[in-house]
């Protein structure tokens, strides 16, 4: 979900996604390549992302990922579900 969110603003390469997640989560989440790349490839196969080779800021060839329409929809679904879960947990914690 965080990866999808990171890509809402625009296309990024692997490292960029990692940094962006770190940034938007206020440094809470550090996504290691060991989890990042399997997740990216999986999402690409699910059709949520599309990828292409492009030039990085330092003129290095890098693989960029872009959010697809179904990815955007997935993000909405996930966000909505996450909201429900956190609300439910918060309710549960409050009640006790």
């Amino acid at each position: 979900m965080l990866i999808l969110k990171a890509l809402v603003a625009g296309e990024l390469h692997g490292l960029g996604i990692s940094r962006r997640i770190q940034q938007i989560s206020g440094g809470t989440f550090l996504v290691k390549p060991g989890s990042l790349f399997p997740a990216l490839h999986r999402m690409e196969e699910e059709g949520w992302l599309s990828s292409f080779w492009g030039e990085s800021e330092n003129n290095r060839r890098a693989k960029y990922y872009r959010l697809s329409k179904s990815g955007l929809k997935q993000l909405e679904v996930d966000t909505e579900r996450w909201g429900r879960i956190t609300w439910a947990i918060a309710q549960a914690l409050k009640s006790s």
Binding site: H13, G14, L15, K32, P33, G34, F37, P38, A39, H41, R42, E44, E45, E46, G47, S56, N58, R60, R61, A62, K63, S70
Partner: protein, 891 residues
């Protein structure tokens, strides 16, 4: 859309894995470079930047592997690569792979073959619609045994029951049938109108029986089996001209039953039972019965229903006595057909299961030995990042590969095995025609392979992945002690093998001893050099016509005596060991007491002291002479006993002993008219030796023989004692019969054939269990040999040190043999207790020995220990030849 994407990526992954991998390589590389650049920007030195970047990235190969695993279809690729690897691994040790595959093929093949028989006989549904709704219905005798049904009782059951939608009675007999290409003896069934409705079948050609067929309105009608229609009638589409002469009466063929309809077994012709008329006695058990349950009625409900009616008949009948039914019983037809074969087949299945276990144990031991060689390889794979699950999968794949190759070979072998089994099976095993390698049998074989593979794979995986990674490397250095655990496990397996083998071989031993005991029994007659000739004249009721049949047999016997080489010729109504003779109750009546009316005779039947029970045989003097049945007292039949002289009888020794214990039976007169309808008194003139009518295992039956020439009969078996070639006697005899009457069907056999057929099921069981026992013994021996040889190899260094320190050859031998012996003894002890517990199940198959026969136990234990010791001795010998110098350099 996502579905398309998935399929596309799956295809891409499978077809161009290399391209995808290249892409991944470049991506990871660019990621690494960017990390380094970032670090440099953050002020690190080039070297430091690279190091930090690599730390952040983690293992490059691991990341790639994780990505690969996340891809669609990754499991297909990895299973394929596992298979490739497994094939390579198995090819590396062609010898032990071959042994493992052959062992598994043997185990799975034999188990599949036996299962195909069990399935075909016991489990495969009968080939009728909703066959599980078809029941067999019985009366229950005063002794609690199921019996056939008397006509009036059947009528009551049919009319009063609320459980069956249709119920029918049937019986079968053998008749002389002509009107076809060759006259033959054919099985014919009398069936009541609902018979085919019970089975839910319709004739494929023509029509079934209708009301007129049963009422003698038109001429008699017959239905024929599909096979009979094809073979004997020449498969005519138009049945209007098809007629058969059954026991001299002409029947019109009105219909052909579907292929595969075979009930009662081996019957070819069906005629309406009502043509016979009804017997009004409630104790004349002439019919069997089958019924189809109503929807929703259970077997238990039907059983209770029939029982209630039967008890009501019992309570209200005027014919009280031992022969009147006490109760009724309903069991599924399939169970009633296969009843006797059931326990034997289940024993065989159990025995073959044991064999399979021994085979698997051998393979497990082989894998175990290989595994300890591979410890290092597995450790390296784990160090390179293979997870434990991945290794388990690899080992499972190897086990699956082994067992599927073994299983495939085994199933191929089972095809041949089943043919052999069916040929070997005794004729009294029901439903043999439905035994084959069918789809359910193949499914069974597949499950067997899977279970075997899962067991072996789990076993090796549990062994190999339990230790720490470091142990795998360390073990190699420690040499002889490295696989103490697997050595121990190997010996446990061998002990278990020996225990199971012992049980199997003891079972085979008990069966073998039983057969020997059976063969020791003196049958009471000669078996060799006897040619038998089953002759069937049309059955007749008119006494005058019957008398002519006596003359016919007299002529036939006289002419057969002329054949060169034939010494004695006689005839009997039923040969011993060939189904036996009918039995009944006779009455002792003195000449002057003979009552004038049938009622008077009936009154005598109520005087218990006058009654006796015996088998009833019709014979000639020559029968006793040909079979060498000795005359003990009195005389055989001779010329004095013509058709018009007083009727005489010869009785068997056991009847004389049991019926007249303190009297002389000679000269006594009996009336045995309920057997052949002739109430004239019979004077006992001779006592002959006992014969084992019902096979060697059954006690001799008390028998009354009457003279064929006084009590003529249509079907007889002529027995000829002949020194010469069977073929020439047979063809001459056939010619003589044809000369007398060309329409008479005849069948030739030798008595040795009948005798050995009577031992058929005993031989079948012995051959199979013996085969399992010997195979298990061989497997266990190789198992012992393998473990001991492996242990000696492992201990080479230790032995070398011992020899160097001055151990004598004898001591080394004792050391190794002692180690082997301990394993064997433990196996034997467990095996004995297992055998004591399990041989009870084969009790029903034993004769003359107890299930715990000490001689068999001792013999088998000696045999097994001897073989196992030999298997230990060879590696032990090798151990004594160890050269200490070489041994110490062994590493």
């Amino acid at each position: 859309m996502p579905i398309f994407a998935k399929i596309r990526s799956l295809l891409r992954n499978l077809s161009s894995a290399n391209h995808a991998d290249l892409d991944l390589d470049r991506e990871i590389d660019s990621h690494l470079q960017m990390l380094i650049e970032q670090n440099v920007e953050a002020g690190m030195s080039a070297k430091e930047a690279e190091r930090a970047a690599k730390i952040e990235l983690g293992g490059i190969e691991q990341v790639k592997e994780q990505v690969r695993e996340k891809r669609h279809g990754s499991w297909v690729l990895s299973v394929l690569s596992d298979c490739r690897y497994a094939v390579r691994q198995l090819r590396k040790n062609p010898g032990s792979t071959a042994v493992a595959v052959i062992t598994l093929a043997l185990g799975i093949g034999v188990t599949t073959a036996i299962f195909s028989v069990v399935y075909g006989v016991l489990l495969r549904p009968l080939p009728y619609p909703d066959a599980n709704r078809i029941m067999a219905v019985f009366e229950v005798t005063s002794k609690g045994r199921p019996s056939r049904i008397a006509d009036p009782n059947f009528d009551d059951l049919r009319d009063q029951n609320r459980s069956f939608q249709s119920i029918a009675k049937y019986n079968e007999f053998i008749a002389s049938v002509s009107g076809t290409t060759t006259p033959s003896r054919t099985r014919v069934a009398h069936v009541s109108p609902d018979f085919f409705k019970v089975f839910g079948i319709q004739p494929t050609l023509g029509r079934g029986f209708n009301a007129n067929d049963a009422k003698k309105v038109a001429g008699p009608t017959v239905l024929v089996s599909y096979g009979y229609w094809k073979q004997h009638l020449g498969s005519p589409e138009d049945l209007s001209q098809a007629h058969l002469k059954i026991d001299n009466a002409v029947y019109s063929v009105v219909g052909v039953l579907p292929v595969g309809f075979n009930f009662p077994a081996d019957v070819e012709l069906w005629v309406p039972s009502d043509l016979e008329g009804e017997n009004i006695s409630r104790t004349a058990h002439n019919y069997s019965a089958v019924g189809r349950l109503r929807d929703g009625v259970t077997v238990e409900q039907a059983n209770a229903d029939i029982g209630t009616i039967a008890r009501r008949i019992h309570d209200s009948s005027s014919e009280q006595g031992d022969y009147l039914l006490k109760d009724g019983k309903v069991i599924p037809l399939q169970e009633s057909i296969t009843g006797k074969a059931r326990s034997t087949l289940l024993i065989l299945l159990g025995a073959v299961g044991f064999l399979l276990m021994v085979a698997c144990a051998n393979v497990a031991n082989l894998l175990l030995a290989q595994l300890s060689v591979r410890e290092r390889e597995l450790a390296i794979r784990r160090a390179l990042g293979a997870t434990r699950g991945r290794l388990v999968r690899q080992l499972l794949t190897e086990a699956f590969l082994l067992s599927s190759v073994g299983g495939a070979l085994g199933v191929l072998g089972a095809f041949a095995g089943v043919t052999g089994l069916v040929a070997l099976a005794p004729a009294n095993l029901p439903r043999l025609d439905s035994v084959s390698i069918s789809i359910p049998v193949l499914v069974f074989a597949f499950f067997l392979c899977t279970i075997v593979a899962a067991a072996l794979g789990t076993f090796t995986a549990a062994r190999s992945t339990s230790g720490e990674v470091r142990d795998g490397f360390a073990g190699e250095g420690r040499g002889q002690t490295g696989s103490e655990g697997s050595q121990y496990l190997g010996r446990v397996i061998v002990a278990a093998q020996i225990a199971i083998t012992l049980v199997l071989v003891i079972g085979a031993g008990l069966l073998g001893r039983s057969l020997m005991k059976v063969l020791e029994v003196n049958p009471g007659f000669r078996v060799d050099k006897i040619i038998t000739m089953d002759v069937a004249l049309p059955s007749l009721n008119d006494p005058k016509a019957k008398a002519s049949q006596g003359v016919f047999y007299s002529n036939l016997i006289d002419r057969l005596k002329q054949i060169p080489g034939v010494q004695k010729v006689g005839a009997v109504s039923g040969l011993p060991m060939d189904g036996g003779l009918p039995d009944g109750t006779f009455v002792l009546i003195a000449q002057n007491e003979m009552p004038k009316t049938p009622d008077g005779l009936g009154a005598l039947f109520n005087q218990k002291e006058r009654l006796g029970n015996a088998d009833f045989g019709v014979a000639t003097e020559g029968y006793f002479q040909a079979l060498g049945i000795p005359l003990i007292r009195g005389r055989f039949f001779d010329e004095r006993d013509g058709a018009n002289s007083p009727h005489v009888a010869v009785i068997s020794e056991s009847l004389a002993r049991t019926r007249w214990p303190n009297q002389d039976p000679l000269g006594q007169t009996i009336e045995f008219g309920n057997m052949d309808g002739d109430v004239r008194l019979l004077t006992v003139i001779g006592i002959v030796g006992d014969t084992h009518e019902y096979g060697l295992e059954a006690p001799p039956a008390p028998t009354v023989y009457v003279n064929l020439f006084q009590r003529p009969r249509s079907t007889m078996t002529v027995t000829m004692l002949s020194d010469t070639d069977v073929e020439s006697v047979t063809s001459t005899a056939r010619g003589i019969l044809k000369d007398l009457d060309p329409e008479i069907p005849v069948k030739f056999r030798t008595f040795s054939q009948i005798y050995s057929a009577s031992l058929g099921s005993r031989r079948f069981n012995l051959i199979l269990i013996g085969f399992f026992g010997i195979s298990a013994l061989l497997l266990a021996t190789t198992g012992v040999f393998g473990v001991m040889a492996y242990s000696v190899t492992r201990r080479t260094r230790e032995i070398g040190i011992r020899v160097a320190l001055g151990a004598a050859t004898g001591e080394i031998l004792r050391l190794i043999l002692g180690q082997g012996m301990r394993t064997i003894l433990i196996g034997v002890v467990i095996g004995i207790s297992g055998a004591l517990a399990l041989t009870r199940t084969v009790k029903s198959l034993l004769f003359g020995v107890t299930a715990t026969d000490p001689l068999t136990f001792a013999g088998v234990i000696l045999l097994l220990m001897g073989t196992a010791l030999l298997a230990c001795y060879i590696p032990a010998r090798r151990a004594t030849k160890v050269d200490p110098i070489i041994a110490l350099r062994y590493e």
